[in-house]
């Protein structure tokens, strides 16, 4: 099975998020980028399918953020092909609709049986990449997927619902899946193996022209939320805070 995985870079939420002077967009000039979490799960699921069934895993990414590191880490984990699409603007990744058209053009040349993409990136506001890719390719799509197994030329896919309930679907190939989680946590690779991959793995660059795009939604303002009411903060040493919490629980009859 030929599997393609899309990896995206997103701002690390551990760092403060900055808004630019327009007040309508992120200022990413000093942002730290990390691999989008659900894309990491998509890669893991692809590697699990390859290990179970054989095949090839191609990893695609736009040249944005710390993408080379993510691509080499994917190679160290077992990806077979690394493809990077050049992107000129270091401060803004393309809208999902534009990125989807670019990925779709590249995917038509790779001709995979299956495309795995994280179901969501935390900075998506007015588009979702995975279903946009599916529509661009006219392929079936299902998202919020947590687990994929190959079965007689098709796939058995679990889609997550509330209450730890899953719906199992049979998916005919080719298809695009939006991954929420892989069947097991993304594997860890030591830095030494990533460094080794940097020496041996090749990142192919494939130019794809972005389509013209006029946003369908206008951002009027981007800002951190100002809550009407925040928690009463308990301060002091850990012991003092612990004693305060214990006293609160006692007051409210929660110590049994």
């Amino acid at each position: 099975m030929k599997i393609a995985v899309v990896l995206r870079q997103v701002p690390d939420l551990i760092e403060p998020l900055e808004v630019d002077a327009t007040g309508k967009a992120f200022d990413l000039s000093s942002a730290t980028f990390v691999l989008n979490e659900s894309d990491d799960h998509a890669l893991e699921q692809a590697l699990l399918l390859k290990e179970a069934q054989g095949g090839q895993v191609s990893v695609l990414a736009l040249d944005f953020g710390d993408v080379d590191n993510s691509l080499y880490a994917a190679a160290a984990k077992g990806a077979d092909q690394l493809v990077k699409i050049p992107w000129d603007d270091p401060n803004r990744s393309p809208p999902p609709q534009v990125a989807a058209q670019m990925y779709a053009e590249l995917l038509r040349t790779i001709d995979p049986d299956l495309v795995l993409i994280g179901v969501q990136a935390h900075d998506e506001l007015d588009g979702v990449l995975a279903p946009e890719v599916a529509v661009a390719l006219s392929w079936p799509y299902v998202g919020v997927v947590r687990g994929v197994k190959a079965a007689d030329g098709s796939l058995l896919v679990c889609k997550e619902f509330p209450g730890a309930v899953m719906a199992e679907f049979q998916v005919r190939l080719p298809a695009v899946l939006g991954l929420l989680g892989a069947e097991q946590p993304p594997r860890y690779v030591p830095v030494s193996r990533i460094r080794s991959a940097m020496k041996t793995a090749q990142i192919a660059e494939q130019e794809v022209s972005p389509p013209s795009w006029t946003g369908r939604v206008q951002v009027a303002r981007l800002y951190p939320p100002v809550p009407a009411e925040r928690a009463e903060m308990l301060t002091g040493s850990a012991e003092e805070v612990a004693d305060r919490i214990a006293a609160l629980l006692e007051e409210k009859g929660l110590l049994r």
């Binding site: 939420l13 998020l17 309930v165 951190p224 809550p227 928690a231 805070v241 214990a246 110590l255």
Partner: protein
């Protein structure tokens, strides 16, 4: 049909209307009052009649009945919804931030080349334009957006809108299903529901929950937290990253794709408070949150908070509780 109507996807899961439908109807009513349109509720099912009673807050209930809609699958549901939207031409389509919503909303918008907004917490009409306030980046940012083109596809976060209250007399219309539903099976076919294995603790029935998130850092740190939960007479639950790591089973997950809990005490340790998590726990009587990030959104819903590493607190807290219990 009217370009001022607001259409709500009244999704059903395993024979029940999803909880968010009432909120969507409430939001739709508020917007329809401003646009002068009607509230339409779309039910896609093999037989929508049993759901009509729960949708009386709509002005019109639009049923599409077909065997291909007996259980959810993306393509037949999308075909039915797309046909309905193209026929009714509403100003906006409101869809819940749910498992089905994450398929339907972006697919519908992509097919129609329509505007889409995610994580909507508030929807208003201003100078004839829709204005939505949306949460992104795990609740750490808000975006105010304006949408001129119709239909706007809006994914609404649960807990954002007051449920509909006015019980009206909705008109029920049964629409013809699109011809494509009778064609060959689509590429994604429903096979079965898989329920969680019995035997684990039912966190929805616990009075006291000690919840752990990414801040726990490693699986070994679960042990003292488990002991703290036992000391309190409660159970351990978690946000999604902990379950994704395989450190706790899915039956312990709180949030959009997990359980909705309403305990007397929710002690949130190392949880940032993404909207998907808050959705499942904001109804707790008392929320105490511990996080190293003073801007963590969890402090916006907590009653009490402490800015510190959770592992620095667990042991002294266990000791303080033991002391007071003596």
């Amino acid at each position: 049909m009217s370009a001022s109507d607001i259409l709500v996807l009244a999704e059903t899961v395993r024979g029940n209307l999803s909880g968010i439908v009432s909120e969507l109807l409430g939001a739709a009513r508020s917007v329809a009052n401003a646009t002068g349109g009607q509230v339409l509720a779309a039910v896609l099912s093999s037989d929508g009649a049993p759901f009509v009673a729960g949708l009386q807050d709509a002005d019109r209930i639009l049923l599409v009945n077909h065997p291909a809609l007996a259980e959810y699958a993306p393509e037949p549901f999308l075909a039915a919804l797309q046909t309905m939207v193209q026929t009714e031409s509403p100003r906006a389509v409101l869809i819940g931030n749910t498992s089905i919503g994450w398929d339907m909303a972006p697919l519908l918008a992509a097919r129609l080349k329509a505007p889409l907004v995610l994580g909507c917490q508030e929807l208003q009409v201003e100078d004839g334009r829709l204005r939505a306030t949306c949460s992104l980046c795990g609740g750490k940012m808000l975006a105010e957006v304006q949408i001129e083109a119709a239909p706007a596809v809006v994914m609404v976060l649960p807990g954002s809108c007051a449920p509909a209250t006015a019980a009206g007399k909705a008109q029920v219309q049964t629409l013809s299903p699109p011809a494509s539903l009778s064609a060959d099976p689509s590429g994604v076919e429903f096979r079965q529901w898989i329920l969680p294995p019995p035997g684990d603790v039912d966190i929805t029935s616990q009075d006291i929950l000690v919840a752990v998130g990414r801040g726990i850092q490693q699986k070994e740190n679960l042990e003292p937290i488990q002991q703290l939960a036992e000391l309190l007479g409660g159970a351990v639950c978690a946000s999604r990253p902990i379950v994704d790591q395989g450190w706790l089973p899915t039956t312990r997950q709180v949030g959009k794709s997990g359980m909705t809990v309403k305990p007397k005490l929710y002690l949130a340790l190392g949880i940032s408070g993404a909207p998907e998590h808050v959705e499942g726990m904001s109804g707790a009587d008392l929320i105490i949150a511990v996080n190293t990030d003073p801007k963590a959104p969890i402090f916006d819903v907590a009653d009490y908070g402490a800015q510190m590493d959770l592992m620095d607190l667990v042991e002294p807290l266990s000791q303080a509780i033991q002391t007071r219990k003596k």
